[in-house]
Amino acid sequence: MQGVTIIPTGGSGGGSTMSSTLSKEDTNLVLSSEDSSCPEDSELLELGLGLCLSHHHKPARKSHSHHHHHARILTAKDFPSSASASASSSSSSSPPSSSLSRVNNNTTTSTSGTKRTAESVAAANNGPSPVVGWPPLRRPYRVNSFNHSKSPATEVFNWNSEKSKSSETDVLRKTADNTNGNNNNIDTKEKRNFRSSLFVKVNMDGIAIGRKVDLSVHSSYETLAQTLEDMFRESTTAITFNGSNGEDFGILVGGDQHSKLLDGSSKFVLTYEDKDGDWMLVGDVPWGMFLSSVRRLRIMRTSEANGNGLAPMLEEKNCRQKSKPI
């Protein structure tokens, strides 16, 4: 990890002060850390990956929007700019507190990311900021820029779009492009479901830090599984935590591009928590139905899945012919 420090910020439900520092370039990351053996424990610190902008206080104004309490990972870039941000009159920052926040499980909503106050946004950068649901555009279209010389012609038009320069979000952007990138640039938006972004948290057993994935850029289980495989392969190489145990997380997708995660041949299975709070095996229901009920994902060790009673379904899946609706 180069220059990345985990600084949990945020207060508990009792309303302790939020603190944060500001980065002009919005390179802040929030990663998820969770003990893999008890995902349901709501007392754990849980952070969400996404382009989370730091919560920012402006004492001069009474205005203050209520934000979710997230912890943040700062990159090296934060430190010089945070110094200048502190110096500037339009912003204020304080050293991050070390209190842990309650789990903020965003999965009941289809939004993710923290929100910022207007002033902090205006102070931080002169460009628009990826605040949830802003700008107020219903249309999650991708307008192809034939005439624009700048490169990201397939930039995902997404409220939580990954504009950060960090490698983590580059992976996300890469995977988002990959899933649509099999086609001609021009046609990429054709494959895209016309749904605004739907970020859900993903945790993998044995990896302390979880991620978030935007389900709306996928239209099938295969692409989702591929994305997850890419995501967690990067995690295991880029971040070393005690939890990894040197396990082989690598091969989640078989040689024929068919996801082992879905067919049960990997050491891991992909499960999701649905809106009723039950953990289900991914892949049983039509994609659209899955989208409407999924709250979060977990890549579970097969052994544990068996123990949790997902095993019968697992065996069934191994036996039956799979045909996935797109």
Binding site: H68, T108, H148
Partner: protein, 589 residues
């Protein structure tokens, strides 16, 4: 007028037997119903129904269309009890901010139970128009089975269904004239739903499947278009190529509204001229949209069809200023124009020059999150349009920054704005020349545009903006606010000052309980209030709920957040009482 004679009020049908009437000095009921039946305006009908009991009954028996702006404000039982003869229902569901991800999935607004009641009470239902409702395939199948006279379905910003539901409609609605699917979240499963229209089916007049992203069965489509001679509106999806478009236009030169498919295929000279002549044969075309993926060199094929165009929707076509200018030369009759900001200020100058009859302009951003030297449209483009298009009354303008002076100039040029929606994309952005707040801009709007009905504000704004709105915007019905204001006073000004306010939607503003409670008496005269990420607390909401029992005060709670804050509040009047279908994260206080 003596209209309160005792007479039988409950009738089985509006064509009641004349012999059943007792003498009176009023018009016979049938005549009264006929007369009142001619009223189309909702407001007129509302007024009429308040005159006296007889008029109330005449109105309710003669009403054929009903519009419900908030599906939770009334129940299907109450509706069907009052209006026995409805043929067309329009329902709106979720709060508008659900379009921007501020309302969680599974919030509600499911059409199904309405349909179940309608199947019993309105078996002759013909039209259903839904906006922001959840519609499942099961509901669509139920609809197709339950209403033999069903003619028109329009789904806008809905979710929950797939092409299977469309297939059911196609197969079973023998009298279908309209299938209009706009901007929905739809699971596009296969391309065969179009084949479900039977060979004998010829009544279609409106077909809009532009948001589907998979291929459709072109053969089935072509046959359908060929046999439906009354087809007036055809909006295709991106899978349709130029060559296929030409074939369809050849079959349906009578079209009035066309949404093209992809406008970008390699065409031979022959194909190009065929396409051009196909367009020139469409003498009745008044609306053009689509153009997913445009190759600008092919735009000239449209020129012959442009002269009669009144609505040009290029909101998915990122043209540059030259392309749009060359096209607009031919579009002198345009009234409504939707474009992408890739046309930049120069493109807007062309609009001002060539489209003097323009009434509505919407400019969408190609890339809202572009950093650095992002292009797009600015204040000078805005002014240029206002100089050339004096009839402008509706604007939706996305830009990166604006000046107070420019907005003042625009409204001076065009004082008749009824809808003014300015979105400065960076929250809290001040006037970029003076660094002042944008208060004076919106002050100018409300002072000058006395007919203003809808306003959306943005940029750095203090309470002064709201003082202006409360003081001057006497016709304002809808107000959208984000990242604005300094204190509770702002919201109070609006609640106290705008007599016609119906919808107020606020996000990320420093308005708290005092502001919320200042509108106690107001909310019953409004359709709804939305406040998210403001400073309202649960206690404030509880107080509101307690004081105003006829309002539904709902808080959308997220796990793990502060229990005392009310992050998302939705308040609306209702005669149906609290929701019976609220999910666990919606608390009704």
């Amino acid at each position: 007028m003596e209209c309160c004679n005792k007479r039988r009020m409950m009738k089985e049908s509006p064509e009641s037997n004349f012999m059943n009437r007792r003498g009176s000095s009023c018009f016979p009921d049938e005549v009264l119903e006929r007369v009142i039946g001619m009223l189309k305006s909702r407001k007129d009908r509302s007024s009429v129904s308040l005159v006296c009991k007889e008029w109330y009954n005449a109105e309710r028996w003669s009403r054929r269309n009903v519009f419900i702006g908030n599906c939770y404000s009334v129940s299907p039982e109450i509706l069907t009890r009052r209006f026995p003869n409805i043929r067309s229902v329009t329902l709106k569901g979720k709060p508008r901010f659900s379009d921007f991800n501020l309302v969680p999935a599974n919030w509600g607004a499911d059409i199904h139970f309405w349909l179940v009641v309608f199947a019993k009470k309105y078996p002759f239902l013909e039209e259903l128009r839904l906006k922001r409702m959840t519609v499942t395939d099961e509901s669509l199948k139920f609809l197709a089975r339950s209403f033999p006279n069903f003619k028109a379905i329009s789904l806008q910003n809905c979710d929950g269904f797939s092409t299977d539901g469309l297939a059911a409609i196609a197969a079973d609605c023998k009298n279908l004239t309209e299938l209009d699917i706009q901007e929905n979240v739809i699971d596009d499963k296969n391309d065969n739903w179009l084949t479900c229209f039977p060979e004998s089916f010829t009544s279609l007049e409106v077909l809009n499947f532009s948001i589907l992203h998979n291929d459709v069965n072109f053969d089935a489509l072509e046959k359908l278009v060929t046999r439906c001679k009354s087809l007036k509106t055809l909006k295709l999806n991106k899978s349709i190529t130029l060559e296929q478009l030409q074939r369809l236009l050849f079959r349906a030169p009578q079209l009035c509204e066309l949404g093209t498919g992809s406008f970008s295929q390699e065409l031979t000279t022959q194909q190009y001229s065929e396409l051009e002549s196909a367009f020139s044969n469409c003498k009745n075309l008044n609306t053009l949209s689509g153009l997913w993926v445009v190759t600008p060199q092919y735009l000239p094929v449209l020129y012959p069809a442009c002269a009669n165009l009144t609505f040009l929707n290029f909101s998915y076509a990122p043209l540059d200023s030259d392309d749009i200018a060359k096209l607009l030369v031919h579009c002198a009759n345009i009234r409504r124009l939707w474009v992408v900001d890739t046309i930049e200020d120069k493109g807007l100058e062309a609009v001002g020059t060539h489209c003097p009859l323009l009434e509505e302009l919407r400019v969408f951003p190609a890339d809202p999150f572009a950093e650095g030297d992002a292009r797009g449209v600015t204040d000078s483009g805005f002014i240029a349009v206002s100089q050339g298009c004096r009839n402008l009354h509706y604007v939706l303008y996305f830009c990166r920054h604006m000046t107070n002076a420019a907005v003042a100039t625009v409204v001076q040029n065009c004082p008749d704005f009824t809808h003014f929606r300015l979105c400065i994309m960076n929250p809290g952005q001040p006037d970029y020349r003076t660094s002042e707040p944008m208060d004076e801009a919106f002050g100018a709007v409300v002072k000058t545009c006395s007919k203003l009905q809808r306003l959306a504000i943005s940029g750095l704004l203090t309470d002064l903006t709201f003082e202006y709105i409360g003081k001057y915007a006497k016709n304002l019905e809808t107000l959208s606010v984000a990242f604005a204001g300094s204190s509770d006073w702002g919201m109070q000004c609006v609640l106290e000052g705008c007599p016609k306010l119906r919808k107020l939607e606020i996000r990320d503003c420093p308005f708290g309980n005092a502001a919320l409670l200042s509108g106690l008496e107001k909310y019953e005269s409004m359709r709804s209030l939305w406040m998210s990420d403001c400073k309202v607390t649960m206690n404030g909401c509880r107080l509101l709920a307690k004081e105003m029992p006829r309002l539904n005060v709902e808080v959308i709670k997220e796990d793990g957040s502060d229990d005392s804050q009310a992050e998302r509040v939705y308040v609306y009047r209702s005669v149906a009482g609290p929701r019976r279908d609220a999910p666990s994260f919606v608390l009704t206080l």
